[in-house]
């Protein structure tokens, strides 16, 4: 039997997801043994016309990482969707919008101005911005459009499965590849990770006090948490209660509160408001004034609660 063919593609991403594939170490040899890689821009030289020439279904699975920010990315993922029976959103950006999604906190215009006009290292006296079409020496040059906002993959094309994480961890990638090869994929639309909250698997969970009382919000930027005590109990916003497990608790073991890259479990529509509900209940206050004072010590709720998921949150972006 011919080996199944798979494709890897990247959109607005940092390259970490590509790194995650390489991080499979020896396991990658097993993958390469079992499948043929038909597209992988970071490592192999394929062109768009090669993909256009694929027969439908010839390449079984497309792993797509990165969020969507340009018209070119939209074209590519639509093409891959058209060709591949299975599309997997790979990593937090494709799954939830990811870190680039924080750009939805501001407008396209401000983002462009920041990059091309106001950045201290930019010299652009004529305030030129990238144009879709430019004529230079008689040549027509084209650039993709910078879209109004950042999108998760399933806001642009239909997605069959999600591999969460920034980046996804080797165990989950191997398990997903195994499930594909054996034809044992779960129900369409599933996130290929456990559906329990991180607190359930956290090494710190036994240090959670019976009744948690947050007296003030702390940040790792200003102070260092005690590595043996639940972060939330210490006042560090740890997204564990509202985040899916499966990451191997890497951040927790590195003395870093969970930042939520796996997104919420299937029970929660919006990880940010879910977390807000959880921490709000834990504040050690009994009056409105004290609650306000305590709330004031939480720096940047939006960036903290939606670090990886702003584009797929209920409100999606700042307006006005």
């Amino acid at each position: 039997m011919a080996k199944p063919k798979v494709a890897f593609y990247w959109c607005a991403s940092c390259g970490g997801c590509e790194e995650a594939v390489v991080d499979l170490h020896e396991a990658i040899l097993k993958v390469v043994e079992a499948v043929d890689i038909a597209l992988w821009p970071v490592a192999l030289d394929f062109k768009r016309k090669d993909v256009e020439a694929w027969k439908p279904g010839e390449v079984t699975v497309a792993f797509i990482n990165g969020s969507i920010r340009t018209s070119e990315q939209v074209d590519w993922v639509k093409l891959l969707r058209q060709k591949c029976p299975v599309v997997i959103a790979f990593g937090s950006c494709a799954h939830l919008g990811g870190i680039p999604g924080l750009s939805n906190f501001t407008t396209r215009e401000k983002t462009l101005a920041n990059k091309y006009h106001n950045s201290p290292s930019v010299d652009n006296p004529d305030k030129i911005l990238p144009q879709l079409e430019t004529e230079i020496n008689g040549y027509e040059l084209e650039l993709p459009e910078f879209l109004p906002a950042v999108y998760a993959l399933d806001q642009v094309i239909e997605v069959d499965y999600y591999l969460p994480g920034c980046p996804p961890v080797p165990d989950l990638i191997s398990a997903a590849v195994g499930a594909i090869l054996e034809g044992k994929l779960p129900e369409k639309g599933s996130v290929l990770a456990p559906d329990k909250s991180l607190c359930d698997t956290c090494p710190q969970k036994d240090s959670k006090p019976e009744v948690m009382k947050i007296e003030s919000f702390k940040r790792v930027a200003d102070s260092s948490p005690d590595p043996d005590t639940c972060f939330l109990a210490q006042g560090y916003v740890c997204m564990g209660p509202a985040t899916r497990s499966g990451c191997g608790e890497l951040c927790i073991r590195g003395n870093m509160p969970c930042r939520g890259c796996f997104g919420p479990t299937s029970e929660a529509r919006d990880g940010g408001t879910k977390m807000l509900s959880a921490i709000g209940s834990l504040l050690d206050t009994t009056t409105e004034e004290a609650s306000e004072r305590l709330a004031a010590t939480m720096v940047d709720p939006l960036g903290t609660l939606y670090r990886f998921s702003l584009p797929t949150s209920i409100l999606k972006q700042r307006l006005g």
């Binding site: 969507i68 939209v74 939805n104 906190f105 879209l147 109004p148 906002a149 999108y151 806001q155 642009v156 929660a268 529509r269 919006d270 940010g272 408001t273 879910k274 807000l276 509900s277 921490i279 709000g280 209940s281 834990l282 504040l283 206050t285 009994t286 009056t287 409105e288 609650s291 306000e292 305590l294 709330a295 004031a296 939480m298 940047d300 709720p301 939006l302 609660l305 209920i314 409100l315 999606k316 972006q317 700042r318 307006l319 006005g320």
Partner: protein, 147 residues
Amino acid sequence: MPEDSFEPRIVGFLCQWCSYTGADLAGTSRMQYPPNLRTIRVMCSGRVDPTFIVQALAEGADGVLIAGCHPGDCHYSEGNYRAMRRYPLLLKLLEQFGIETDRVRLEWVSASEGEKFARVVGEMTARLKELGPLNWKKRSAEYSGAA
């Protein structure tokens, strides 16, 4: 929309033990208050997950009222403290999304405070008329739509 014809849509989450009864009293006592509130009866103000509030705003509400028993009087003893603790955090978050904090109001209304209930709804309606429609769904679709 001309300002005077704008009728704000307010979603009200009322706890069934105090505030819902208070609203009922306002009704049975024939107190006048604007018809802008769509009431959702909940067991307790502590049950009002911030997700519900945000969802209401995202789907067309111009404002959201959460009303519960006075602190100390919650039927489940602590529920309204939860509501009270979450509220200022939620306002901070909404502000970052560009939503005026006056659109979301938390009030304590006992079963005998029909008058207070009518006043709160009146004040809130007036304030929302000043702020104008939120229109999140439409504005959001217009701004970022489908890619």
